[in-house]
Every structure is written in structure tokens, then in C-alpha cells.
């Protein structure tokens, strides 16, 4: 694990992208195959199942550090990371064992099947033989979530440098349902066999938020569609099987049994890109996101839910046809094929064609965009007619042009410290609106302010705490923030009766006295209009 720890240290000791890629590439050139494969897996979010609860880890760490558990718990929010807190409180290691990363990962993976005493012994042995950084990494491997400032994109770039395989090709090979247990570095990266994994999706092409409409050139070069508020998905039909992938590279076929019949009428070697939406078949329009929300995360779907919130794929692109990769074809060609293919489907097929919206001028389009909320859409997608299907987030050919968010002025009433790089700063706030003379909480938000603003509010929170509830501080109602959000829904679970979608802080309204914040009635009015 020393080599992996050295890599981590090198990545952690620079803020410069090139230096990070160079360090990773050097690692990928030298490390043993199984370690390289595990590193790829970890940096692409694949990790061993957690075999020990964090509760146990906390108790053991406090015990070994000879401090009361309450004191350990006090340290955690200050450090902002459990693995690091443990590594910091433990006494220095007493021995030294150098095992490979793979070796340690196997230990971590096997923790799950051990009895309590054996688990504890294994973890304590590791703590007492690993130096600080390796100890921190070991904890990270147990608790999952090794975020070390390297995106999958950077990792792929480094791997491309080390293997001299093209980056886009690698991005595709790294997709899909593999784990280090099911493949080898050679099979996955070097001797890639497309037949080997019928479920393998293509890397998604992602759009940036539109910056400058005028820079797009003639409107006739562009195609517009509504941008729906669902789940981006890729539907694959190969070897008479359907495979459904979410954008987060999760295989979600089983959660959406609607697609089990797809191979009956869609030929092998077909891949769609589209939006999963809960559908109202009576009106042939999408239901709101709430309906889909009930389906997400449910591994098995009760009959009633399947009936109340049936899901379709709103298809907007065709990535593969008859087994041929179409990504290097222009969008207009892919769309023509998609339209023809959807035309052949029976009416009860769980697929719809995402309609292109006709427009002559940008002004036309702006008017169409202004009606987005009436259609329960988030805005528009703009795609160049001759655009290829690229991988990852790229500027130039695809843009999302979202509607402006809804906003409301609210009073901050609770604050909680953040984690990670925001440890020790108060960054997570609860906001309220006036209900008569009372403040009714209605949302939390934790993004949108600059670091300087968070520092300022943190200093203020420390001096204006009314009460503490564990890590949460109730503060003097004094500051007003403009909260932006994408949607609003009725919610019986919340005291305010509403739930917001993507709430964040748009602005700190230093100019607004607390009495001038919005009211619960204002919020309910928004619910009536947009809910």
C-alpha cells in the first residue's frame, strides 16, 4: 500500500491538474496489474462493500486512543472526515507491515463475513501496523468514498498517457458493470472484447449551461428539445436482453420492469439515450418528478406503484443500431434513424420520441422556453444538427438552456458545520419564512455562497448562537438569504407543507431586514402556481 499512499500524497500535495495527471500516469505505468485495476475501480466509484459499521469504528478508535467516546464525537465535525479523525486520534503505529493495495482490499472485502471479535482484531491490527497516511487510506477503504481530488476524467486521461490508448476509447472500456473480482487489468483495458460485456454502456455526452445565445450562429444549425426533469438513462438491447443504465453508471434494469418487454420489438444491437420519466398514459404527458422519485431506489416495485407511476424512456438519441456505434454520425442522421425506429414500435412500448421544437429565430425559441414550466420542463436543450456524440462534459455543440429558478427571501434560523474542505465552517443552513409572527422552517441549503461569505457567516454564527442541539446551532433570526430552487411540491412530511427541488443560496441579502422576508402564504401561492 506504500506505493498507493505515495500516489495519494503526491495528488494531495498539489493543486495543479497537470501534476496530478503526471503522478497518476507514473503510478499506472509502474504498479502491479491488480493494484492498477483496483485503483481504477476506486477512482471510478467502485468499492468493496462496507464490512464494519462506522459506529463500531468510532468505538474502537476511542478505545485504542484511550479517550471517551463523546470526545471522539466532538472531534469528528472539527476534522470533517471520519477516516481522518480516526487516523489522527490513534497512537503511533507500533509495527510495520507492507502489503499491496490489493491485499488490503481483500482484507477489507472479507471483513463482512467475520464475527465481531475477528473484525475488531483485523481492524486493530491494521491500525497498529500502518503509518498515518496508509492508516487514513485503510479507513477510507473500509468506509468507502475515496474522494481524493481526482475525477474519473482525470484518471482516464492519466491512464491514456500510461497505456497509450486513446482517452475516449478508455472512457468507454471503463464503463459498465465490472468489478476487480470480475475482470483483470488486461481484459478490461488492453484486450478489450466488445462481446464480453453485452451490458456495457457508452459514456454519456453532457451539456454545459448556455453562456451566450448570440454566439451560437444561425438558428438553422441548431435543434431544440424540452429539457425534462427525470433521470438520464441509456437503454441497451443486446443478446436479447435489456440493460438500463443511469447517468451515475448504475445498472438499474431491475428497478424498471417496464423495459423487460423491450427485446420483443427492438432488435439486438440498439442503444438509446434519453430521459426516464414517470408517464401519464391517459394524457400522454410526463408526471412530475415526485412520481418518479417514488420509483428511484426501489429495487422491487409494488404493483400499485407500477400502475400509478409507470416509467418510459423519452428517447432523444440513438447511439448504436444493428451493433454499429453511431456516435461519429451527425445528430441529424442519428435522429432520423431514431425517429424511424420509434415509428415501428407498438403503442404500448415504454418509449417515446423526444420531439424537436420548430423555431425560426432565437426570439421564437425564447418564447418557447418561457412556457417550460407549463410543460413541467426545466427548460430547453440545444444541440447542433451536425454534432457528434462526444463523451463527458464538452462545450460547443450541446447546451442546456434552463429556465430561471424560482426564488424566495428567507431567514436563516439554524446552522450546522460542513464536512471535507468545509470542515469547521458553518455551511449547512435551515431557512424559514414568516407565518404570522412565527418563523416556519421550509428548506435547507448549503451551496451558493463564496468561501469568504462562509467564513463571515461562520464568525457570526459563533457569536449569535441561541441554543445548541448536538452539531446544530439555533441562531438569532437576523440574516435574509435569497433562496433559488427549481420546483416546489406539496409535502405532508414537512411542517411548511412544501418541499423544494434543488434549493440553494442565490444571494445574501444584506440589504433586507428580517421582517421583509417572504411568508408562508407566498410559498403556498408558488405551490399553487408551479406545484
Amino acid at each position: 500500500m506504500k506505493r498507493f499512499a505515495d500516489l495519494f500524497t503526491a495528488l494531495d500535495q498539489t493543486t495543479k491538474t497537470n501534476a496530478k495527471v503526471a503522478a497518476l500516469a507514473a503510478y499506472f505505468r509502474d504498479a502491479p496489474d491488480s493494484d492498477r485495476l483496483w485503483t481504477i475501480a476506486l477512482l471510478s466509484g467502485r468499492r468493496p462493500k462496507r464490512g464494519v459499521t462506522t459506529t463500531l469504528l468510532r468505538e474502537w478508535a476511542a478505545e485504542v486512543a484511550d479517550i471517551p467516546l463523546w470526545l471522539f464525537e466532538e472531534c469528528y465535525p472539527i476534522v470533517g472526515d471520519l477516516s481522518e479523525t480516526i487516523a489522527l486520534v490513534l497512537p503511533p503505529a507500533t509495527g510495520r507491515r507492507d502489503r499491496t493495495l490489493t491485499d488490503w482490499l481483500e482484507t477489507v472485502r472479507d471483513l463482512g463475513v467475520l464475527d465481531m471479535e475477528a473484525k475488531k482484531q483485523t481492524v486493530l491490527d491494521a491500525w497498529s501496523t500502518l503509518p498515518p497516511i496508509e492508516r487514513f487510506l485503510f479507513n477510507k477503504l473500509i468506509t468507502g468514498g475515496l474522494r481524493i481530488g481526482v475525477s474519473q476524467k482525470l484518471m482516464t486521461r492519466a491512464l491514456a498517457q500510461a497505456t497509450e490508448i486513446e482517452e475516449a476509447t478508455l472512457a468507454h472500456r471503463l464503463m459498465g458493470d465490472w468489478t476487480p473480482a470480475t475482470t483483470t487489468f488486461h481484459d478490461l483495458i488492453e484486450a478489450h472484447d466488445p462481446e464480453a460485456d453485452a451490458s456495457k454502456p457508452y459514456p454519456f455526452y453532457l451539456a454545459y449551461q448556455l453562456e451566450d445565445l448570440d454566439a451560437l450562429g444561425p438558428p438553422s444549425d441548431w435543434r431544440a428539445e424540452r429539457k425534462w426533469d427525470g433521470i438520464r438513462g441509456q437503454l441497451i438491447i443486446r443478446q436479447r436482453q435489456p440493460y438500463l443504465w443511469s447517468r451515475g453508471e448504475e445498472l438499474i434494469t431491475d428497478r424498471f420492469p417496464e423495459f423487460a418487454i423491450a427485446p420483443d420489438f427492438i432488435p439486438d444491437g440498439t442503444v438509446f439515450d434519453g430521459e426516464l420519466l414517470a408517464w401519464d398514459h391517459a394524457t400522454d404527458t410526463p408526471q412530475n418528478f415526485n412520481a418518479l422519485q417514488k420509483r428511484i431506489g426501489r429495487k422491487t416495485v409494488p404493483k400499485k406503484l407500477l400502475k400509478d407511476a409507470p416509467v418510459i424512456l423519452y428517447a432523444y438519441d440513438l447511439l448504436e443500431q444493428d451493433g454499429e456505434d453511431l456516435r461519429t454520425h451527425p445528430l441529424d442522421d442519428r435522429r432520423a434513424r431514431l425517429t424511424a425506429l420509434i415509428d415501428t414500435l407498438p403503442s404500448d412500448a415504454p418509449l417515446r420520441l423526444s420531439a424537436q421544437l420548430p423555431f425560426q429565430t432565437w426570439d421564437d425559441l425564447a418564447q418557447i422556453r418561457a412556457t417550460s414550466r407549463d410543460h413541467a420542463a426545466e427548460g430547453l436543450m440545444l444541440k447542433r444538427g451536425d454534432s457528434l456524440y462526444l463523451s463527458g462534459r464538452k462545450k460547443g455543440d450541446w447546451w442546456k438552456w434552463k429556465v430561471d429558478p424560482l426564488t424566495i427571501d428567507a431567514v436563516m434560523i439554524y446552522a450546522q458545520a460542513g464536512s471535507g474542505r468545509r470542515a469547521g465552517l458553518y455551511t449547512d443552513f435551515t431557512f424559514a419564512v414568516w407565518n404570522g409572527n412565527e418563523l416556519t422552517p421550509f428548506t435547507k441549503a448549503y451551496s451558493g455562497l463564496t468561501d469568504a461569505e462562509f467564513r463571515k457567516i461562520t464568525a457570526w454564527v459563533k457569536k449569535n448562537t441561541l441554543q445548541r442541539f448536538g452539531p446544530v446551532r439555533q441562531v438569532t433570526p437576523e440574516h435574509v438569504f435569497e433562496i433559488a430552487f427549481e420546483g416546489i411540491q406539496a409535502s405532508p412530511r414537512h411542517k411548511s407543507g412544501v418541499a423544494l427541488r434543488f434549493p440553494r443560496m442565490l444571494r445574501w441579502r444584506h440589504d433586507k431586514p428580517v421582517q421583509e422576508a417572504n411568508t408562508l402564504d407566498d410559498l403556498k401561492e408558488m405551490l399553487d402556481t408551479y406545484g
Binding site: D12, A65, F72, E74, I78, G80, R421, G424
Partner: protein
Amino acid sequence: MVLQFQPEGIYCPAGDFYIDPWRPVPRALITHGHSDHARWGHGSYLATKAAAPVMRLRLGDISLDTVNYGETRQIGKARVSFHPAGHVPGSAQIRVEVDGEIWVASGDYKTTDDGFSEPFEPVPCHAFITESTFGLPVFKWDAQDDVITQINAWWAANKAAGRFSILGAYALGKAQRILANVDTSIGPTLTHGAIENTNAVLRAQGLSLPDTIRVTPDTDIKANAGALVLATPSGMNSTWVRRFGQASTAFASGWMSMRGHRRRRSADRGFVMSDHADWDGLNAAIKATGAERVFVTHGYTSQFARWLNEQGYDAGVVETEYEGESLDAADAEVVE
């Protein structure tokens, strides 16, 4: 009570004076020159001889009387003496004895010898007033030699790669501690004006520091390629550092032991070096005083006081306006 906690600061009724008051008072005894302890506006000041020059630099023409470490002064009914706190040059713990009862106000302190400040001396007492800036068991400092070795290696590697090494450190204390200990044979050292002002004062009072070059608008940056550049923490975020072009940036602070804080500063490196005691240092210092009562000021006060109570001390939290070591404060170069 020998000392009382009042809205103006820590007060001694027997001697009618305050220690490190944060509101203007007629008579102030000052532990050290950092701005949250030595404030402007008091009638008269008493501090150690070694602390006096920096206080004059920062506070201007004040009525300042000085004492040597260990020298006893009778002030009213109180016997007062100053003892090294190891925090920065001239820093002191103030011992106050009234009718045989001894209290010690320690200001800011560290228990390890930094090779530059007068090393900390435990002072036996009945009641001890302690800081708690790093009063949690996650704070444990590496030996200074190890940290200096890391800084030397970083500097040498940057120099070899044609980069400057810009290191953010407090203008009083940390900057000189680093300067006095790094391997200056690696290259020249450039300093921010606020640091060089302090250097000049400390040199004038007889402390030995390696040669440094003050950065001014006229400084020939290129002629000093690969230099170590000592900057104030707030200078690290300003246009001041951009002059140096190719550079690696770092901070030296106790907070750098935590990744989250390190990443938030967006510096390449963080060197864990503090002029405050770590967890073990705080606990050892308190034990060495033999005190039964402990008053916990600035830092993780409630947690540390609870811990001390569980260890058998009679400990309580005292609200003060001292700020400890903070990289998030707006004027971080002067508050330590």
C-alpha cells in the same frame, strides 16, 4: 479570588490591574505582543523586556514598563512575575501571588522548544488559566526537526524545478521560527514587509536571524530565482504573490494537520507547525503546574473543560476575546 473574569479582561483586585484586557483599562499586564493580547488604549503597560520592542512597533508610543523573566514585582498586595511561555520571543505566563495563593495566566503557550523563543517553563500554582486553541486529541504535532526537514525538501525541490517557494506564516513568531531553523544554504529568503518589520525589531534586540531580503516594488524578483518567500497568511491570497510567477504555495499552521483546512486554503502544501501547544502539550503543561483549578479560555473550551473535569480537575470555561490561531480571520497575520 486572586484573579477575576470581568467584561474588560482578567482582573486582579489585590493589585488593581488587568492581564491581557480587551477593553481599555488603566493598568495592563501583557503576556505577549500579538494583537488579541496586546491591545491599544490602556493607561500603562507592563511586559517582558523581550516582548517590549514588538509591542512598541505595533502600539506606538505607549507607557510601557518592562521586567525580566523571573523578576518579582509587588503591585499593591499582589506579587507578580513573568515566566517564559514558549509561544513567541518575549511571551510570558504571568504568575500572581496573593496571601500565598498562586494563580498563573498563561496567555498563549507551547511546551516544545522551537530553538528561537525562550522555552516554556512550568510554574507551580493553585489555579491555572489555559488556552485551548488545539484542545482536542486530533491535534498532535510532529517534532519540529521533522517539519523543518519537510520544508527544506519542499524548498530544495522547488528551487531545482525553477519555482519559488511561497510560505504563509504569521508575521510575529512563526515566520522567524521558520527562518531561524530552515537550511538557508538552499537559497535566498525574501520577506513580506510586515514580516521584515518584525525581523528588524527582533534583530535590534539581539536575536539572531539569517539574512533576508525585503520585497519592495523595486525588488529584482528574477535575481532571486528559487528563493523561499515568507508571506503573511492574508498576503497569500493577494496580488502580492502573483509577482513570483512559477511558484509552489504552502502554509505553516497547526490547522494544516487537517486535510479539509488544507484544501480550503488551496495551497499546494501544508506544514503542521504551531506556536500553540497540541493536545499532549496542553495536558502535560496543566499537570506540571500541580493546579487543582483550571480555567479554559479561547479554543475548544467546552470540550477541553469537560475532559479536564473527567480527569479530576475543577475546570471551567471562561469567555474571553482572545482568538488563538486562525487562518480564517480577516487579519490573520496579526492575530495568533
